[in-house]
Symmetry: C2
């Protein structure tokens, strides 16, 4: 018998009519002979409401109490989902993380799942009952509720699918799959039938918001087949699979973009052995991750210009750190800019094909878009450009890599 874990996000559970629609999908799958376990997020807006209450209670609050408060959202949606399933004639019961239990470490609000005891769930599944499990949460070693961090329900679902050795984990969300790029910007973006775990990891970490990164990494580690699909449409979504299951490999699978970077340029760094360490050492000490780095070509003995990116949220802190270290580094001035975008082309096909980078640079040059910085990995190339060119660059690259859907 096929065993499927179905996870429904907040927008799929926005009100009772949507919960009913989601429950009908579960009933239909069971009718078709599948064993189904459900993982639910909180109803849309509920987690935000509870987080706001905690903040109002005290700006700095005990993460253990925050977890107890915020985890109640899934307790409600799981109970309601079970009630609706029962009303459709499907035997069901809700399971809170602490009841199963889904054991985690003690990092409250950012806990890692350590173990899921499945004996009870296995037994219920075998007799045709649908377990409805609260996503996003587990039980810490101190017998208190932990949460996995925002978006953690995807991770709960994949972990449960791995523990139950499910044949597939369906993640129902408000988009109907993974696209070659953001269809709101590139109208000819295509939905991918399949994508490899590694490509999905890059897509997620480079700005695509379809799945939580952790859940993709977990799926890759445990070989869980994950399907991303819409709870509002009756069509297959995108399947995350092993690389070797993708028969016809495209050179490039997708384009991602993110506005999460800020660029800093340090001018007039005097010629001295270790000057680069003088700049990046204090930032590393402050826990700020530096990404793309460009050092200007200057006469060997002259002053250098060093450009690099940091997460936008760390910009103020980075400028502060560099200000303090000014005398030691001896630079003349700093500039920073947040009006930039990082655009990435991603594809496992790059491993065996040259010319991917060249196509990118040529395409951007043809459109007159200056490249501010570049970084590469085995399966992606990212460039930093002025944010004003975001749409132009994405559309041009989407065509250049033959990703456009047929008209």
């Amino acid at each position: 018998m096929t065993r499927i874990v179905k996870k429904f996000g907040g927008t799929s559970l926005g009100d009772l009519s949507r919960i009913r629609r989601a429950a009908e999908r579960v009933a239909a799958a069971r009718q078709a002979g599948e064993e189904v376990a459900v993982v639910v997020s909180a109803m849309a807006g509920e987690t935000n409401r509870l987080v706001a209450l905690c903040r109002e209670a005290a700006p700095l609050h005990d993460a253990r109490e925050y977890d107890a408060v915020v985890a109640s959202g899934e307790q409600v949606s799981a109970g309601l989902f079970a009630i609706v399933l029962q009303s459709l004639g499907v035997p069901a019961r809700s399971w809170a993380g602490w009841q199963i239990p889904i054991r985690t470490d003690d990092r409250h609000s950012a806990a890692l799942i350590s173990e899921i005891e499945t004996a009870a769930l296995q037994e219920r599944l075998a007799r045709g009952e649908v377990p409805v499990v609260t996503g996003f949460q587990g039980l810490g070693p101190d017998n208190r509720i932990t949460t996995l961090g925002r978006g953690g329900s995807d991770t709960s679902a994949v972990a449960l699918a791995a523990a139950l050795r499910a044949d597939r984990c369906d993640i129902y969300t408000d988009v109907d799959g993974v696209y070659t790029t953001d269809p709101r910007i590139v109208t000819r973006a295509r939905k991918l039938a399949r994508i490899s775990y590694e490509e999905m990891l890059e897509m997620a970490s480079l700005g695509a918001k379809v799945l939580q990164i952790r859940s993709v990494a977990l799926a890759m580690t445990h070989g869980v087949r994950v399907q991303v699909l819409s709870s509002f449409a009756d069509e297959p979504g995108t399947l995350l699979v092993n690389e070797d299951e993708i028969v016809e490999q495209e050179l490039v699978t997708g384009l991602a973009y993110s506005h999460n970077d800020a660029v800093i340029t340090v001018y007039g760094v005097p010629p001295r052995p270790g000057r680069v360490a003088d700049v990046f050492g204090p930032l590393a000490d402050a826990g700020i991750v530096v990404d793309m780095i460009v050092q200007s070509k200057t006469p060997a003995e002259g002053a250098a210009e060093i450009t690099f990116t940091v997460p936008r949220d760390d910009l103020a802190r980075a400028l502060d750190v560099l200000g303090t270290a000014r005398e030691k580094i001896g630079y003349s001035r700093l500039e920073h800019n947040t009006d930039v975008v990082k655009i990435s082309v991603i594809g496992i096909g790059m491993r065996s094909h040259a010319g991917v980078a060249n196509t990118m640079f040529r395409t951007l040059a043809e459109k007159g878009i200056p490249i501010l910085a570049i970084s590469t990995s085995e399966i992606k190339i990212s460039v930093l450009i002025d944010a004003a060119y975001t749409e132009l660059a994405l559309r041009a690259l989407h065509s250049a890599y033959d990703l456009d859907a047929a008209e």
Copy 2:
């Protein structure tokens, strides 16, 4: 060291400014050297919202799922209360019923507390921490959340006070104590400094809505001193104590009234041995509790008229049962009336004093108020009258029994 359990109801926790006010009371008590454990209801309106969601999910829903959904309200308020206490410098943590655990039987939505394990709480109290416990809920034998029924948080608080051998259980509510009668009707009603458990039981079961009846019975059984007081005023409330602690016993302690009764009159019941059993037997079989009964004085051999009250919620069912039994009873016609009120005078002083009933009948007669039915117990006398006379009767009786506050 004095140990107090403080219970805050929903209106005392209506928003975060009210939660802060409640937490400040706890901080002040601790400052004054008291050990404090807190029991919380859900924030005002929250339980109703969750109940409505369950009803919308399915009119007939699994009580176990209802319990899981509805119990989340206290989980939120307990976490927030703990956060606010911590922000006031008071060490605190929230405890869900399942964490302590507060064990109950398996009657979901109407569970009875069977045991409270207090070892962990005792240890925390001893080192100065304030446990904030979710009211209204516990853990059933199947490891699922149970709830105690609406208003169950009072019962949770009294049970916890008994288990912790607390010196007192303070119930903070939106009234500042127990009054001789409803002050919205009788402006000269007085707040009682003390009332005996038995009187409070009668007051609660006869319509006074200050405390849940079960919590009063539990306090009486375990000898828990309960104080009812307002979370919005800084003054002592009403203390529930043993009868022997009330030094100056009044003849009458208070007046209660309730609109929960309906009256039925069966006309023309033929003279036959066992005719009363023919009327009340079918009602008893249907689980309908008959309260006040009046049988008209008729010639020994003639047809009788039998009048009695049933709970208003059971009226339709009672008429149905009597309709079905018409042939067997052989009555000529039925009449019913819901426009009645039951007014009760309550006082342990009645045990040793005659004349209480007489004062009641004389006072009502002087005001021209007909008495439709009477029932009595050791410490109360109740009369059923036309609802239109409610205020007139309460005010007249309040004066007649010398209950009026000095002007």
